[in-house]
Amino acid sequence: MANYNLKINGKTLKTEASPDTPLLWVLRDNLGLVGTKYGCGMAQCGACTVHINGEATRSCVLPVSAVADATITTIEGLSEKGDHPVQQAWDAIDVPQCGYCQAGQIMTAAAFLKKNAKPSLEEIEAAMSGNICRCGTYHRIKEAVQLAASKK
């Protein structure tokens, strides 16, 4: 076990975990940040996507020891009031069905749009195709990313 002072969502959060614990489980079990989801545990589905120093990263295979000094943003910290342009677009298009994968989708989209503010449709598809939505809301996700891009 080791002690960590993690920089998450603009705060420093103290926690104790064994160094190989994936960030996902530190967020969920230790810190009560359950918006980041478990889907596969092997970086295949994207449900656990968070931002590490601004980069969309799969937290289910990322040991907490690797992010001890990193700046971490989770869905809970993407915006203060849930009004990030991507979150607003997701609501406007009414994307979710079950909703389980959507935090990961939003985190991927937000990091992507920060780098590429005016993406083409093909670029959106390429950026978002690592995130699985079992309900099949892909059309609306695509539309929501386009809407968020148009508002920036």
């Binding site: 975990a17 009414d94 069905q97 389980y100």
Partner: protein, 715 residues
Amino acid sequence: MTKNNSRRDFLKSTALSAGGLILGFNWFGQEASAANIVNKIASEAGNNTFNAFLSIQTDGIVTIFSPNPEIGQGIKTAFPIIVAEELDVDWNNVKVVQAPLDTKKFERQVAGGSGSIPHSWQRLRKAGATARQMLVEAAAKRWNVSASECSTEKGFVIHTTSGKKLGYGELATDAAKLTPPADVKLKDKKDFKLIGSTVKGVDNHGVLTGKPLFGLDFYREGMKFAMIQRPPAFGMKLKSFDASAAKASASGIEVVSFKDKVAIVGKSTWEVKKARDLVKIEWEKAANLESSDDHNRIFKELLDGKAEVRRKDGDVETAFKDAAKIVEAEYQCPFLPHNPMEPMNFFAHVREDGVELVGPTQTPQNAQNQTAKLLNIPSEKVTVELTKMGGGFGRRLGTDYVLEAAELSSIIKAPVKVMWTREDDMSGGSYRPAVRYRFRAALDKQGNMIGYTLRGAGINAGNSTRQDNFPAGAVPNLLIDSAEHKSPITTGPWRAPITNFLAFAEQSFLDEVATAAGKDAVQFRLELLEKAKTSPAGEIKYNIDRMKAVIELAAEKSGWNKKRKGVSLGFSVYFSHASYVAQVAEVVMKKGKPVLQKIYAAVDCGVVVNQSGARNQVMGGIVDGIGHAMYGNLTFKDGSPDQKNFNAFRLIKMNEIPAIEVSFVDNGIDPTGLGEPALPPTGGSVANAIFKATGKRLRNQPFIEEDQKLFESVS
């Protein structure tokens, strides 16, 4: 759908201590006898009481309790829309709350069979309308006028002649004291304002900001975490285990065993997962360990052997003897896991005085009853709180994962959340059964289908046919039978049970028959429906006109009769779960490969309750249908699935979807469900379009494995 509403609804109201109106209602109505697996499960529980519930606060806020489990089908938004429409309240003043299992207040708290909306439509309307009428009466009394002079609008009662108005909140306390009317007038459908509009999901904000909504998000002070090692193959049982290394791996690790399972309990998910890997377990063979090769042999035996006759019309033997042409084909579909994004999990706390269950279940009442039975206590001692579910697709109709949590809690005498990893989930069974179909059709000289046979062969599939579905009734000589192999590999309902593969096989085969008869695919189906109408063979259990209407709408929207250069169209139509869906798939060739560029869907689910939710369900169902037809495959080696996570099991992704255009038939018929009906026709429309484009007839799912060369390098 026929419903027994003969016994009168029972309504009662009580005043809230805080001032306000609570309206509860019970129905003693008999459950509909829909022939689907879900309702069978529901009825097995032995209790089908239903009740909806709404309260109005003095500040005008209306709370609508939504009793049915939310798995992504949008019921938590759709149900309250119906209540709010008849109540005539501003949607912005409605607060929706998920109700827990309550068998006294509610009936059929089930998510499955696309049955919630048809079951509850009239009940929800009456709930809203009854409250509305009581509010009108309260206002009329206060103004000393006749209730007939009053109308309602957006949460206000208005005296039409004087223009006086009072908010529902101001009237709620008085209204609650009135005797609920025995009969209420429901709105004319043409006056619907909220129903049929576009309403966003009531949980959107929570979902988009990462609030704890799902089963896996449930944490409780003092709760233990657990994972369970189940037999690694179907047909294996536990021989022995050594937990010494696991117990030494972290503080507080406990290892217990029950029912051929080894449970690892600890203080965090990761510690438990690591400890589980350290338990040394020996398994032994208890039954045949089946492989996919065994299934190939078994299927052949089933297709050639004896079968149970499901429907027989006319004289099939003579029809085939007299045929000018005979068409024969075999189709196959593999086992599939459900793969909801949230894997199975449940929280259980077995105490001396009762049991608390919290988690994602499509059948809370079954969870309650079966837990009570397992622990030998009365059902009333078991409470079930419903969390939002990260998908279900039928997997959460089972209660195995709930009972495991309850049993484990009773053994360790502590509150515990049992979590399945993805590997546990994908190798844990309850799969869509694997099936094969053999079709034969006899054509006369004019290309009329005079004979039709279908043999369904399934592994733990029960009756793998739907013998009364189209084209039954349209063919004078018809024989449908089925055969089944009982396997240790467990199966269960998977979104649109049976029809999710039967529709693909049947609609593709009908395309083959139309081609052999030299007929247009749409005309061929319309001719068959005409025959079903003018000279029906046997009983007809689908609505001919409704099926015809979706066929014609899909043909019109897709420009079926207009030739477009380089564009190949494939047709299918299917009736399932009381709704009708026709599809046209549009394929173009790019660099010599077929590319699915669009699907047109024509849907008849009667009244559309929520445009946004309905479209989302249809599009999602089609994406699901394409994905599994193209890529989904679960194969077995010695009783163990070869695919255990998303690195080996391919789910469809964003860059693989076609455009989808959805059109609804506007016929004002009472609504039916939409969680399933859009999926079944999908495999057929896609396969038929690919045949048109390439001449390759796809008869085996997944398509990508039947002909890799055909699809290679095509996105």
